[in-house]
């Protein structure tokens, strides 16, 4: 008898816990490129204030895995990637509402070093020197920063010279972490990422990219929350949204 009362209490507690997670505000799930982490968290807060009743939940990762999740039917409302290519793949797989696609920010690729490094490369070809045994960037197949990096390395004719030195991160933020810890000798990230760890990393070079680093956003075609998704996209592109992005170092597309 006592046991069954306890069980019932436990069941009620569990139901309350589950219920509180499911109920409440109108929820919007936004899958966004890892480099947008800090800026989008601020945009999300500001959006929630501007639109009472809305609750934005973010899912940050490299653009490639985010696309794979949407492809596999993850309940995502808005997708923001760090390159056009990933969004193009989403478009050709009919995963996004094409009319909602728009570029909302731009960035630059930079080469960063651990602050303690004694090196001072002035051009990409300096990386071929013996001091840079381990160089990090994102996995080119899934992480946009890896693709931008390989494009620049290819153009500089360094593909073979650097071939055995790459340490691939799962997202641009992991590359940043590897450099900040001093586990690698140099790494390629976006300028906005480098600004997050100013004490541990320093920017050595701004790397020109053949393809400009621009961020597209779009509503996911399967979103069950189209109105709110459109409002969020509009907010990101509005003056208050753009202000926040620029404060985090992004430029206009």
């Amino acid at each position: 008898m006592r046991m069954s009362t306890r069980l019932r209490r436990a069941a009620v507690a569990a139901a309350l816990l589950l219920g509180s997670a499911a109920s409440g505000a109108q929820e919007l799930v936004v899958s966004a490129a890892a480099s947008l982490t800090n800026a989008f968290q601020a945009v999300g807060k500001s959006f929630e204030q501007a639109r009472p009743g809305a609750k934005v939940t973010f899912n940050f990762a490299a653009s490639g895995p985010l696309l794979a999740q949407i492809q596999q039917g993850a309940p995502v409302d808005v997708f923001a990637s760090a390159d056009q290519e990933t969004m193009n793949r989403a478009a050709s797989a009919n995963l996004i509402a094409l009319s909602t696609r728009a570029d909302f920010a731009a960035n630059t690729l930079v080469l960063i070093l651990p602050t303690a490094s004694t090196q001072a490369p002035t051009q990409l070809s300096d990386l071929a020197g013996g001091a840079f045994r381990r160089i990090s960037t994102g996995t080119p197949a899934t992480v946009p920063v890896g693709r931008y990096t390989m494009e620049a390395i290819d153009k500089a004719g360094l593909t073979e010279a650097l071939q055995s030195r790459w340490i691939y991160g799962e997202s641009v933020r992991q590359v940043l972490n590897y450099v900040a810890r001093g586990e690698v000798d140099a790494g390629f990230v976006y300028r906005t990422d480098a600004l997050i760890e100013p004490g541990k990393t320093r920017i050595a070079l701004t790397v020109p990219t053949g393809t400009p680093v621009t961020y597209p956003i779009a509503r996911v075609a399967a979103s069950s929350n189209a109105v709110l998704a459109n409002e969020f996209i509009a907010y990101v592109r509005s003056a208050p949204g753009q202000d926040i992005l620029q404060r985090h170092g992004f430029s206009k597309p």
Partner: protein, 220 residues
């Protein structure tokens, strides 16, 4: 096909070496804790079991702090010997050894405790030294329990993911084991490749389980 065999070979190499390291260390510690009574014995026991209950990411972080390039020991490895363990397959071996150690240790300790102490004493009265008692009496008698622990350790090392990813990274051909290759294939939306890798790892694990079952039965 090389896309399957390279991670498979790497996985087997890492798991075998990790089982070897965890085996030697785990059997020695199991033997020691099974027969010695000392203050703090239960603390040592808990410490050795910790890798089994801690999340692999926590193990990975501990290892980064210890053997990373700026780590507690890692900085000296780097400065004195030029050894870097992070992002190498040797680093993956260390991660897999740590997580599979409790399985060998627990099995070995239980097996040694079950061995009747009178056999060891009988050997001693016949003039056997401690090492001889261990090698020719206790170890053979405890072998079944130890073998079971070793098999489980090998299976655990084969599937190791979290700590390995943090220590060794995801470098195709260098540190990308089967479990990490599956993860990357799914991340990239490459489901066909993920399916193949999944089948390979499933077959490997089935072989280990069947082989260990046979091995244990035949000794019965």
């Amino acid at each position: 096909m090389p896309a399957l065999f390279v991670p498979l070979w790497l996985t087997l190499k890492v798991a075998l070496l990790a089982t070897l390291i965890a085996g030697v260390v785990g059997i020695a510690l199991g033997w020691w804790l099974a027969r010695r009574q000392f203050a703090g014995r239960s603390i040592v026991d808990s410490l050795l079991m910790l890798p089994m209950v801690l999340p692999p990411t926590v193990i990975g972080y501990y290892l980064i702090v210890l053997i990373g390039r700026n780590g507690v020991f890692g900085q000296y490895l780097d400065r004195w010997f030029g050894i870097n363990l992070i992002f190498t397959w040797q680093g993956a071996v260390i991660a897999a050894s740590v997580v599979s150690l409790p399985l060998v240790y627990k099995g070995a300790r239980a097996a040694f405790e079950e061995v009747d102490g009178r056999f060891a004493n009988a050997a001693r009265t016949l003039g056997a030294g401690e090492l001889e008692v261990f090698l020719r009496v206790s170890l053979p008698l405890a072998m079944r329990g130890i073998a079971a622990g070793l098999m489980l350790a090998f299976a655990r090392a084969t599937g190791e993911f979290g700590a390995t990813l943090m220590i060794a990274g995801n470098l195709p051909g260098k540190t990308q084991t089967l479990s990490i290759a599956v993860y990357e294939a799914v991340q990239a939306g490459n489901d066909g490749h993920a399916l193949w890798l999944t089948l390979v790892i499933s077959v490997v694990c089935m072989v280990v389980l069947v082989a260990s079952g046979r091995l244990l039965q035949s000794r019965h």
